[in-house]
């Protein structure tokens, strides 16, 4: 029962959740609406990272930079230029992807840990400039009171705006995940040498993955500005990069939707545990250690393993 190449069956749970999310804002307190929006933005960031890390085997250690670049781009467009606001919204992801291409192009010559280290240094350079350039980026103060278009100036309208773009992005990422490109990327993760031997240009493939991932990190950055109305250098700080890394691990690297789960768990814990204790990072650290020892495949990986212990993949035998 597939139409247009998309199997509807696998989409029913997702559609059901999306419908529920659409009807939530009128019935839940405004604070929860806000937290859900935070989860969407963070999830998208984690999903984009996971395209590199979980599916591509690329040590993308400093992903937050591209998130920050997307956010700062739209912030600067909205505060410093009089161009139509839509331009800034479109420019955010594109500039982020250009940064992804440039930094990726330098890093891709190296592998694994060296790749990650070079990316951290290039990313930290971007961070340092943003952190210090008071005249342009506002330095460590950031930029506040960014004029958000009127049609998204209430909590609920922002929620819907973010939700819609979140769903579109997830859908596109899913198509990519299930495309020949995505499948080849996963093969590269499992065995890059063998991929070379069957005629795949591994480096170019990984670079394309980085550009796609950084584009969606940029989308997440734009959505962050829509939600918060401000930007600050911490968005590009390496600690955030590692936190997002943990979300991917927590949810399950090798699954598609894992990072969403990881982000949801992390954000909710931070929000609700943060009420009781200021030592939130201590708890995050303990959770991480528990994960490493007991759930290395993440929560989603663990669940899938229980559902499907035979380790079969569902493949339609379509005669087309």
């Amino acid at each position: 029962m597939s139409k247009g190449g998309i199997n509807l069956k696998t989409f029913w749970p997702a559609i059901a959740i999306a419908v529920i999310l659409f009807f939530l804002p009128p019935i839940i307190p405004r604070f929860y609406t806000y937290i859900l929006a935070v989860i969407f933005v963070t999830s998208l960031l984690a999903m984009s990272l996971n395209l590199c890390v979980g599916h591509g085997g690329i040590f993308q250690f400093h992903h937050a930079v591209f998130y920050g670049v997307g956010a700062y781009t739209v912030a600067l467009f909205l505060t410093k230029t009089s161009l139509p606001r839509g331009v800034g919204f479109i420019a955010g992801p594109i500039i982020a992807a250009i940064f992804g291409l440039l930094i990726g192009w330098f890093c891709i010559r190296l592998t694994k840990l060296y790749f990650g280290m070079l990316q951290i240094s290039l990313g930290s350079l971007v961070w340092a400039i943003v952190f210090r350039w008071y005249g342009f980026t506002g330095g460590d103060d950031g930029i506040h009171g960014i004029p958000i278009p009127e049609f998204i100036d209430s909590t609920n309208s922002r929620y819907y705006f973010i939700l819609i773009f979140f769903i579109i992005s997830l859908f596109v990422l899913y198509l990519i995940f299930k495309s020949p490109f995505g499948t080849t990327l996963q093969a590269i993760r499992d065995n890059p040498e063998r991929c070379e031997a069957i005629g795949i240009n591994v480096k170019r493939h990984q670079l394309v993955a980085i550009v796609i991932a950084t584009f969606f990190a940029g989308v997440a950055g734009v959505l962050f500005v829509v939600l918060e109305g401000s930007v600050f250098p911490d968005l590009l700080f390496w600690v955030l990069s590692l936190e997002v890394f943990i979300m991917c691990l927590l949810g399950g690297w090798f699954t598609f939707a894992g990072p969403v789960l990881g982000a949801a768990i992390t954000v909710s814990l931070r929000t609700f545990v943060g009420v009781y204790t200021e030592y939130w990072t201590l708890i995050l650290g303990v959770i991480l250690i528990l994960l490493i020892f007991f759930l290395p495949e993440g929560v989603m990986g663990f669940i899938l393993d229980k559902i499907n212990p035979e380790k079969k993949e569902i493949i339609e035998k379509d005669d087309e």
Binding site: L175, P180, Q186, A187, E196, A197, I198, I200
Partner: protein, 246 residues
Amino acid sequence: MLQVQDIHKTFGDFKAVNGANLSVGEGELVAVIGPNGAGKTTLFNLITGQLKPDQGKITFMNEDISQLPTHKICLKGLARSFQIANIFHRLSVFRNVQVSVLSQKGLSGKLFRPVQKVAVTETNNILESVGLIEKAQYIAGSLSHGDQRMLEIAIALGNEPKMLILDEPTAGMSPEETAATMALIQQLAETRGLTILFCEHDMDVVFNVSQSIMVMHHGSTIIQGKPEAVRVDSDVQEAYLGDDYA
């Protein structure tokens, strides 16, 4: 079809390949033999571009391939399998082969086409021909050792190679499995019109199936010729006896 002329490869002080020559004609089944450490795997790595030769020339279908990168050599129709099962552990058997077929068809980069609709028939054909069709849905890492070796060959077939290089295709197999695997390889060679170059430890297998045998020792070619000629060559006997019994 494949000509290797006097190639050399040195790692530090160690001459891994030191003047190897090889000639493989179209449709032939050629074996490379030699004691452990004779440089067989290095030779294969040089041919398929994983390593670059220090000197010498490798031509495939009248084209110099000695300086080409691995993925380009592969797209010219020269595929290989590896000594250790070199597969994609987290993907299903079907996807393992499909990745290779996609690469051959130049479809690896397609972003917005559902993968379950692409190259399905070709992939299933290959799985059928190596007897893995029943296990298509299993995750490759969960297969038995023998099945993983067959999958390894199936991945190489995905490239529609004109020539296939197999590095010890039966390593770690029982005698029955070895016989079955070699029969399958011979059958593949016939039905697909493949030229096959392989290396192997089991001498019975080598002398039974191959049309030509090249013997390596200390990185150099001692002789290449028909099985009967190689069997009686005195240098070969010395190489083997010298190494194994000295």
